[in-house]
């Protein structure tokens, strides 16, 4: 819109002390990580109201799931949260297997766990770098991407894709994990442990970082419950809710791992939860590598996959929280209804309440601690 000269007649300096102004943060803003728009009513630098405006990258993934076969829909899900594609395809694959009662070989389940946890680490590495970038520290993201690169190389060797993996298939996997992958993963675990310790020493213990995150943006468990926030957000509020334990899937029940929780419910708690989760993921990968059996990597799957009429849900613990796929079938080869419950959507919806009365940099630090992926919000 080309504004006329008259629109500019009121200079901002004429605002009285009681007046507020509207700040349109986004859809293009360095801290919006994509195309999130937050309509902020500001009193100076204090936020009176921050209303997230979503829908800039809505792609109708649910509807697309309803007008194509399940196999054709599967790659779509890796584009929803592009940082944890493995988990998202896992949920769809799991829902179909549960509905069609397909047996999955044990080897495939172990490889799924290994790749999922690798994906979780790479996703958390991106979050870590991006949060520090939000806080004005530019260097950590390059170290984070250095480590992430190793994971991407491993997964690329396995399935050809570096970001939007479509490695899982109904009943198994696209191909078997070769020895190079298994050895590479073992090397990566050994490489990553001292790196995580270094990040703790250099970044987590930095006094500026601690001051910027501690007691900033409290999100208590009660608020998480009202908005349906999951993942590191609710674990940062002291609730040990993890889909891997609450609604066990794959071979997670056979594996030993802790659910890191911090009762402080502030941004630092969410930060520490994710840092601990990376360590737990490494621990899970080590166990899975030790336990992985030989055998086929894909089970018996009918050539034309038709789900029996019914309603199936399957939830996974994605990097940002609980991702659930609901498939309603009427017996055709396409689903009658697809519902995707994405964690970022719920985690964002509490932003308006949680950011009330905060100062702008703190509100953006809190937004960083929520680890939002915008395509995951809009679907």
């Amino acid at each position: 819109m080309i504004a006329s000269k008259d629109n500019f007649s009121a200079a901002p300096a004429s605002q009285g002390p009681q007046e507020t102004f509207t700040l349109n943060l986004g859809p293009q803003h360095p801290a919006a990580h994509g195309v999130l728009r937050v309509l902020m009513t500001m009193d100076g630098e204090w936020i009176q109201r921050a209303e997230p405006v979503i829908g800039y990258i809505h792609r109708m993934h649910e509807k697309m799931g309803e007008n194509r076969t399940l196999a054709k829909f599967l790659p779509n899900t890796s584009r929803i949260d592009y940082l944890s594609a493995m988990h998202y395809t896992h949920a769809v694959v799991g829902a179909v297997e549960r509905a069609a009662k397909i047996e999955v070989p044990l080897r495939a389940e172990y490889i799924r766990v290994i790749t999922s946890e690798l994906n979780r680490i790479s996703s958390h590495m991106v979050w870590w770098g991006a949060l520090l970038l939000d806080l004005g520290g530019f260097t950590p993201i390059l170290y984070a991407f250095d480590d992430r690169e190793k994971i991407l190389d491993l997964l690329e060797g396995l399935c050809g894709a570096r970001l939007t993996y479509c490695y899982y298939r109904f009943g198994g996997l696209y191909n078997d994990a070769d020895d190079a992958f298994l050895k590479g993963t073992r090397d990566f675990v050994q490489h990553m442990k001292p790196r995580l310790q270094m990040y703790r020493d250099l970044v987590t213990d930095n006094i500026i970082l601690r001051k910027r995150l501690t007691d900033i943006g409290p999100i208590p468990a009660e608020m998480c419950r009202r908005y349906g926030a999951t993942g590191p957000v609710i674990r940062g509020a002291g609730v040990a809710y993890d889909v891997r334990r609450a609604e066990p899937y794959s071979v997670y029940p056979k594996l030993d791992f802790k659910i890191p929780t911090y009762p402080e419910a502030d941004s630092m708690a969410r930060y520490l939860v994710r840092m601990d989760e990376m360590e737990q993921s490494l621990y899970i990968i080590e166990q899975a590598l030790d336990q992985i059996p030989a055998g086929p990597f894909i089970g018996k799957v009918p050539r034309v996959l038709k789900l029996p009429p019914g309603d199936t849900c399957y939830a996974v613990e994605a990097a940002r929280g609980r991702f659930l796929v609901r498939l309603v079938s009427d017996g055709k080869d396409t689903a009658y209804r697809v519902k995707l419950r994405t964690p970022s959507f719920s985690n964002l919806s509490l932003y308006e309440e949680a950011s009330k009365g905060m100062i702008l940099p703190d509100a953006l630090a809190m937004m960083g601690s929520l680890d939002l992926v915008i395509p995951d919000i809009d679907r």
Binding site: P12, L135, G136, L142, Y143, P361
Partner: protein
């Protein structure tokens, strides 16, 4: 009597030299910063233009010059255009009194210190005007931040300078340097027999210098992840380029001042080899070491919160600098009591 000895010509040559020095520094400090950042982040940094990226500033300059300088509608066009000039001119003036060597100085004023600080403070006003004239909400927030930040940090900085003035007893920058002659323990930063808190005074001065020049971790004016580009959001092309150069020019002035006040200026660390050409070499060596520290800090720390920045100044730095001021006064006057 040679032609060069004439005072007006000497001053003119020095001013041209200072302009070239500031321009060259601004251009190559950008490269140094990017190379330094690359080193810290384990990547090569700019390495395409020329050998090891040596021509990168030239490419950047051509790109910025070729861009249109936009004045967005609704802005205060005069102030919008004037702000980059006002931010660039003061550091040039400051450098006119800075002695690079025993005789290498454009104009040796006997109130050099006062002159540098009075011109150094104009920087704030320029950033505020730039932010205000842009008619952009991010710029306005940034302008408000710049003012409160610079007011808060000017006070401890000046208190530290007053402490030094009590010790040196002169505002003549060259005289201050000459008092620090001899071995390096004669430098003001290590003169703990005058005031045991002298190293702390330097830390206060350096922190304030970082805040005054809006450098990380105190870069509230730019704060790219919060305020897009703060006061510079609406500036493009050379308007932005001048702001960018001025930031480095201010760093150079700040580090020159720190070298003069605390590290003995053009004096060598061991009492010899500080005359003639050696003076500028020592001076620039110390200055660039400080500038490297500034770059190093920027790429290591995240940004502080705005209120903790102000808390740092009002609750820690100002009381501390007042205390050092009192301590210095007491240590200077106590011997007189027992005479």
């Amino acid at each position: 009597m040679s032609f060069l000895a004439l005072e007006p010509i000497r001053v003119l040559l020095y001013l041209v030299g200072i302009c070239a020095f500031v321009g060259g520094n601004a251009a190559y400090l950008v490269l140094a910063e990017r190379k330094g950042a690359g080193r810290i982040q384990r990547r090569p940094g700019p390495n395409e233009a020329g050998w090891a990226g040596i021509l990168q500033p030239l490419a950047d300059g051509i790109k910025l010059l070729a861009k249109q300088v936009m004045v967005p509608p609704g802005t205060d066009a005069l102030l919008f255009r004037a702000a980059p000039l006002m931010v660039m001119a003061p550091p040039l003036m400051c450098l006119a009194t800075i002695p690079f060597g025993d005789t290498v100085v454009a104009r040796n004023l006997n109130i050099g210190l006062l002159f540098v600080f009075s011109f150094g403070s104009i920087n704030v006003m320029a950033l505020m005007l730039g932010g205000w004239a842009s008619r952009n909400k991010y710029s306005i927030i940034s302008a408000a931040r710049v003012v409160s930040q610079n007011v808060a940090y000017e006070i401890p900085m000046l208190l530290v300078v007053i402490t030094l003035l009590m010790i040196t007893g002169t505002m003549d920058l060259n005289e201050i340097i000459k008092q620090q002659a001899g071995w390096f323990w004669n430098w003001n930063v290590l003169k703990i027999w005058v005031n045991p808190l002298m190293p702390v005074t330097f830390v206060i001065f350096f922190t304030c210098m970082l805040a005054e020049t809006n450098r990380a971790p105190f870069d509230m004016a730019e704060a790219e992840s919060e305020l897009v580009a703060g006061a510079f959001t609406e500036y493009g092309g050379m308007g932005f380029g001048v702001f960018f150069m001025a930031e480095y020019a201010n760093i150079v002035v700040g580090c020159c001042l720190a070298t003069i006040l605390f590290f003995g200026g053009w004096q060598s660390p061991f009492g010899a080899l500080s005359d003639g050409l050696w003076g500028p070499i020592w001076f620039l060596g110390k200055t660039y070491a400080l500038i490297f520290t500034v770059i190093w800090i920027r790429w290591t720390f995240p940004r502080t919160q705005f209120y903790s920045l102000l808390n740092l100044s009002w609750k820690i730095l100002i009381p501390l600098s007042l205390f050092t001021l009192l301590l210095t006064g007491a240590m200077m006057k106590l011997p007189l009591l027992f005479k």
